[in-house]
Each structure stands twice: as C-alpha cells, then as structure tokens.
C-alpha cells in the first residue's frame, strides 16, 4: 500500500485515536461527575477554539469575491457576481451577497480574513487534502489530528473526555491524537437508562483483560458516555428546548431556533450549523472545561449549479456565526472565544460546463471573535499568475494553526506542528 492510501486507511479506520483509548484511564464515579464538571469550571480568560470545517471544497473566489477584476468575470461569466451585488470589504473585494451577518461583524472589526491560504504542492483529492489540513502534515503521511496532538499533551485526568468535543455522531480525524481522542456530542439530549439497567450499563464501561482491542475501545467509549453525559446533559436539555427539536431528527429537519440571539437567531432558524453552534454557545456559557469544539457543514463540492447551492450554504455559515457571535460576544466569555472557518481547498478559477467549478487550491480562512484583530491578513492570490488554472497560495495554513495554538490555547505550536511557523497578526 502506498503511503497516501495507508494514511487514509489509518485515519478512516480510526486507528489513529485508538491506541491510547484502549489503555486504561481513571474511571469516573457516576455520582461524582456532574459535581466534578461543576467544581472544575473553565477559569475565565482560558481561550476556547471553535473550529468550523466546510467539507467539499468551498469556492473561495465566490466567497471573498474580486468582482471588479476583469480576469474573474472572464473566467466564469455565468458564475461571477457583479461589483454592485457583493458586500464591500475594501481592497476591491466583496463578500458573497448571502453573507450579510458576517459582513456586519466585519464592519464591527470582529473578523479577520486570511487570504490565499494553502500549502505547497496542493492535492486535489477531497480526502487527501482534508487529511492534510486535519493532520497538518502536507508532505509526510500524518496519522494524528493536529488538535488530537494538542489533546495528547494535556493531563490524562478526569476531565480528559471533556477537553475537546465534536458536534454530531462521527469524530473528525482532527480530534484523534496518538494517545487519546476527543468526544462526540449528539445533537439531541442524552438519555441513559436508569436504575439497575443504568448501573449495569455503567459496569460495561470498566476495562477487562479479556477484551480484544476493539472491545476495549468500545468499553472505554461507554465509560466516556457517562462522563460526557453527566457534564453536558443539563446544557443539552436547555439547548434542545430552546431549539424546539429533538436531535434524532433527520438531516434538514431542524426546527426553528427560538433561543436567545434576537434578529440573528431568527435568521439562523432551520440551519444545521446554527444548531451545532447553539449547543457550543450553551456549553461555553456553562463553563464546562472544554477548550476545543469542532463543528462542520458539508455540501460545498459545487461541480454543477454552484451559485444557488453555494450562496445558500454561505448564508447558513454567515447566519450561524452571526447568531453565535451575538450570543457569545456580549457574555463573560466573549473575549475568550475564537472561531476559525476553513475548507480543504478552493476551486478552479474557470467555470465548467455545468455552471460549477472543479477542485482547486488556495482559499480564504475566516477568523471571528471579540479579541480578533479585524481586517485582511496576507495577499489576495492573482487571477493571472496561475498554476495550471489554479490559484497560488500565499500563507501556509499551519501559520493559522500556530497562531491559534499560541494565542488561544497557550501551547507551544512547534510541539504540535513539528516545527515553527510564523505567527499571523489576527490575534
């Protein structure tokens, strides 16, 4: 098996996060858990990262739009936005017309846009490029996620299962370390059996010398369910009531949010990403000891009929971030929280026959928060100096990570990223 295929296998099979989880850690007493989370709240001033992954390859050129550039109009005549349509952000650039909430935040100085982010010798495969971003390893095969490696370096104590959390059922590789892995929160409530069935189920979370590695992993996961449920149940119950929905609804069946957040919350109604960020906001307000949240939205692989699809998705992104920021920004933790949004690649400059675009390279990364230094970072890629039809990147994505690790998580970036990368000015 070649190294790239092997890397995908390792990640896809979860081998990455598995090794350490099979080992034993201190089991938590069921009755102590809620108290523990309440007794060890995250101290004010500790940074919190919310990482938003846009799966499918978001078209950066129709997100941060160079509408007045003749080369842009010429490359995609039926797909281009006109200068009067986009939301002006200066430097002859405008945001996609659907991103009004993010534009409001930009004007308030709460948004940094890192332009032309990528990595050397770009890969055009969704899966390889997403692995590269999630493992922060463009040249060598990586077998652990970058925030998983940060998690590895944290104490293996009773709060281990709570430090990094993803929203939704499947754990993204970025949270899988070599020794440990983050937890996954369901989008609905936890409902564990009570009485003797509940205590028997809890007993299944104990490690057993007779377990094969996969069974040991499953047992550890059962123990983690009790930890995570105890810490998050009160929050999920509130978030779920506020959202008026139950988490087992099928995709797209989300019900309108009626929680706090005013105008932006109404704008975010029925929005899959907003449901995730609602729960993140509730967790942050409750001071659970979580430093990293992973949220995501898919569907950006716009090979055909791109304009309608992408603008609907960007509206979801913008509305969800707007509602989240309105809720969090005014609170006690406003200055602690930084949201970073990225995708595995941008798209080809020229359109294809189906009013869509094929896989490309560099794209913008958005950084949002009260403590963020708003404005542009890095250069907008040229539309005339192309690499076989693709944009040339200016800023290595690991510089974004290094800045977040240093300024938000207070960790030496080189220990996680395997070397130094210049910090950026957005924090």
């Amino acid at each position: 098996m070649d190294t790239l295929t092997r890397r995908r296998f390792l990640l896809a099979s979860g081998v990455t996060g598995a090794t350490a989880l099979a080992g034993g850690a201190a089991a938590l007493a069921w009755s102590d858990l809620h108290k523990a989370a309440a007794a060890d709240p995250l101290p004010p001033g500790e940074g919190i990262v919310v990482l938003l992954t846009l799966y499918g390859g978001n078209d950066g050129l129709n997100t941060l739009v160079p509408a007045t550039d003749g080369a842009y109009q010429k490359a995609r005549p039926d797909l281009a936005y006109q200068p009067h349509e986009v939301l002006d952000v200066g430097d002859a650039l405008g945001l996609n017309p659907a991103m009004t909430a993010l534009h409001d935040l930009w004007r308030g100085g709460k948004v940094a846009i890192v332009r032309g982010v990528g990595y050397p010798r770009p890969n055009h495969s969704h899966f390889v490029s997403m692995d590269i971003w999630q493992t922060a390893s463009p040249s060598e095969p990586g077998t652990s996620g970058w925030l998983g490696r940060w998690l590895d370096a944290q104490p293996d104590d009773r709060m281990r299962a709570l430090r990094a959390v993803s929203l939704g059922g499947v754990l993204p590789p970025l949270l899988a370390g070599t020794k440990t892995a983050g937890s996954a929160l369901p989008l609905g409530r936890f409902a564990l059996p009570r009485g003797t069935t509940g205590s028997a189920l809890k007993a299944l979370g104990a490690s057993s010398a007779q377990d094969c590695p996969n069974a040991a992993y499953a047992a550890r996961d059962t123990a983690d369910l009790f930890t995570v449920s105890a810490a998050f149940s009160p929050i999920l119950a509130d978030a779920s009531t506020a959202a008026g929905g139950d988490g087992n609804a099928s995709p797209g069946a989300a019900k309108p949010g009626t929680g706090p957040g005013g105008k932006n919350a109404k704008r975010a109604a029925g929005n899959a990403l907003a449901r995730q960020l609602d729960i993140v906001a509730a967790c942050i307000e409750s001071s659970v000891p979580t430093r990293v949240y992973a949220v995501s939205l898919g569907g950006f692989d716009t090979h055909s009929a791109e304009k309608g699809t992408q603008s609907a998705l960007l509206k979801q992104v913008s509305d969800a971030i707007g509602a989240f920021q309105q809720r969090i920004g005014a609170g006690a933790r406003g200055k602690d929280v930084v949201l970073v949004a990225y995708s595995e690649f941008g798209r080809r400059v020229a359109a294809n026959a189906n009013d869509g675009t094929d896989h490309g390279t560099a794209g913008p990364v958005f950084v949002v928060g009260e403590s963020v230094r708003g404005g542009f970072v890095g250069e907008q890629p040229s539309l005339t100096d192309l690499d076989n039809g693709d944009l040339k990147f200016h800023t290595d994505f690991r510089s974004v990570y290094a800045t977040v690790l240093d300024r938000v998580l207070g960790t030496d970036p080189a220990s996680v990223l395997g070397g130094p990368f210049p910090a950026l000015s957005f924090l």
Binding site: L204, S208, A219
Partner: protein, 454 residues
Amino acid sequence: MTTSQQDRALIGHLLRRSGFGASGAQIDAASALGYPALVESLFAPGADPGAESTAPPASLADPALAEPRLDAKATPQQRKAANAARTQAGYDLVAWWLSRMVAAHRPWTEKRTFFWHGHFATSVLKVRSAALMLKQNQTQRALGGGDFRALMRAMFTDPAMMLWLDAAGSTAKAPNENLARESMELFSLGVGNYTESDVRQAALALTGWRLDRASGEAVFAPKAHAAGAQSILGRTAGFDVDSFTDLLMAQPANARFIASRLWFRLGSADPIPAETLSRLVAAYGPDRDLTALARAVFTDPVFTAPAATAPSSASARYALVKQPAEYVVGALRALKINPPADGAAKESALLRAALGGLGQVPFAPPNVGGWPSGRLWLTTAATQARVTFAHWVASVGDVSEVADAAPSARADAVAHLLGIDAFSARTRSALADLAAGPADLVELALLSPEYAVN
C-alpha cells in the same frame, strides 16, 4: 475454548462478515455444513424466498408516481406536495432495503450490494430521485459478483451516478472533472496511481453524456464529446467511456485497489498483509472475478485465523467494528423483527433515527468517499444512539429463548441468541444483575463491548 467452540466462533465470524450478524440458531445450522461447504454455499445459485417476498414496491420504480415533475407555473402548494412525495419515496426506499436485508435467507447478496453502495457511494439527498437510486441499487446487485469491468462501465452511465458526480451534461468545451477524478481515486485505482493531468484528460473522455429525464436513461450526444486524442495514464488515443474503462482495468493498480477495498470492509481495518494481498489479487485475476475475490477473502488464512494473541500475529477476527447497518439489521434478525417496507410506518421512522444517530443511513452516505470504518463508529454520540435503539428492539423483539432459560443460564442464552462467542467476566457480572428481566438482559447484551465488535 474447546474445538467445537472454536469451530462455532469461525462460523459466526464468516456469517457476520458475509451477512448481517448471526444468531446462535443460524450458527448451529451452518455448523452442520462445515466451513468449506459453508463458504461455497454463499456463492451457489439458488432461490431466496426471503428476497422474493420483499420485492421493491411498484411505486418506487415508477418515477411518475414517486417524483411528480412540475412546470414553471406550479403553485407553492404543488411544489410543497411534490417535495413531500420525493422525501416519502426516499423513506420508502430505505425501508424497503432494510426489510430485504432482514428477510434475506442468503444475505451475502445484500451484503455485497451494500459494499458496492459504499464503494460507489451515491446519496439520494443530491440525486433527489428514489427511482434512480433504486435502479443503481439493482445494477449493483446484478453485477456485484461478476467481472468488475461490467460494474465499473455501468456506473459511468448510471443515471444516479451521473447526477451525483455531475457527469450529466459535461461537454468538450468545459468538461466536468468530478466523475473522472473519483472514477480513478475512489472507484478503480486509488490515490497515487494517476496524475492531475490524467484527471483533466479523462474528463474529456467522459464528455458527451446527458440524462434523458423522461426515460431516466443516459444518452450519448457525439457532438458534445471531445474530439481528438487524450493522453491518459501514459496512453494516447481518442478515448470514450468504453475504452477509458478498458484503460482503467489494464492498470496493475486496479486489482490491488479492489482487493484492498474488499478486505478493508470484509476482512480487517488493519493494513492488509502483503501475502494476503497477493492471494486476493491472484483470485481477482485477468477476468476481474469479484466472486472469486470474495471467496479468496473468506478463505484467506488471515481471515480464518483465531483471534490474535500477540500484536504481531495477523488475524481478522474481531478486527472490525460492526457498521451501523450490520448492528441494526443483525439485531432485527436475531430478535425476529421484520420491519415494514413502508417509509411512513412508525418502525421505519425509528430505524431511520437509529441509523441517523449512528451515522449510516442507507442511500445517504456523507460523501463520495463512503462511510467511515473501524473505531470511528465508536463515539459517545453513537453509543447514545445504540442505547436508544437497543431499548426499543429488546422491548418489541422475540426474547423467548432467554425467557425460557433458567435465570442462572440466561447469560449463556443471550450469548447464543445474539451469536456472541464469549462474554468477559466484566460483562457476565453486569448481566447477572439483570437476570430477572429477559428484555433488560437482551438490551444490555446489545450494548456490550463484545457485541460492538465484528
């Protein structure tokens, strides 16, 4: 373990991998055949009354019924009704396939089809046509045990695939690369066995096809096909979909890739041992024989070896985690629950919610790469979904085998019912606390670490 326990464990291993779980009664029946004959019986021709009794509902095959087409003058109410009909048809499709998986007497056909569904992962959420998804499913069922070339060629002009990967309407003037790329990366060769230039040139070879929505058929329009020669994978010719398929099949990477993918889902999520790979590649052979390949997987020494005692000894036993479809369908089969092939039924909504919470709704893979595998299925959120499902299925299923046993024998009875080789002392002790309630006992066993593995 005694010899007979080891033999039973091997039979259970084969039944789980070649189907959807194995109850004790099924293992008992299969044990009488012996392992080699059991493997052959998977591939022998023969009737399957379970499959025959679960034919797809006629409404699904008729796009006019399931997917009313609207003209530009349709009212909002008409559009809403049409959308609801499409969604309902998608629910019916999922309900039908689950009912077939549960009812099949020879589940290898359905398991194999589920493998190809994940390999050519296509989602109804983008295709928006249950009829076209059903057509793709039937093509994968019909061709999934033959020459891989025929299956690959059929997928290039499969209507659902053409919509899913935007091949419909791709023209010489501005070719769409989506199907060209994934046909090499994910369907036939694997990453590292083609270049970016190959992707762009192959996109030209696939131009000229469009979809006739009235007939639901792919139609070739020569004028929209790229004229002239393309250079793909080191060969220069005027390629079309047939000669491009032949070119893919001629790559040495093709056999290695397909063999590795089958092993990854049916054998082990660990890297495939070199000797196993060469045995599987030999079985695939110049005829790209998918049944010979599957036979080679199920008879490979690494597949049949007992559970590894040292990390260095390769064994596929317990090396996978049950995929959600295997977990759910296996539990339904063991507890004799036949879900209705009606997406509007209450049971169908419960099953969709369970599979959605676990992350694997049939006909709705997350992306063209298909579903994850191995331990990525074991998350706290998924465990919560298993808790909810196990409670329901144990409360409505047939647990008489456990209820009929004396309380002291009930842990063994539930292991037999669910086809679990052996419980650890940890699990045995937890089960002992619930011995008075057969349904509670079954619920807990379905949540045991021993049942989660495959």
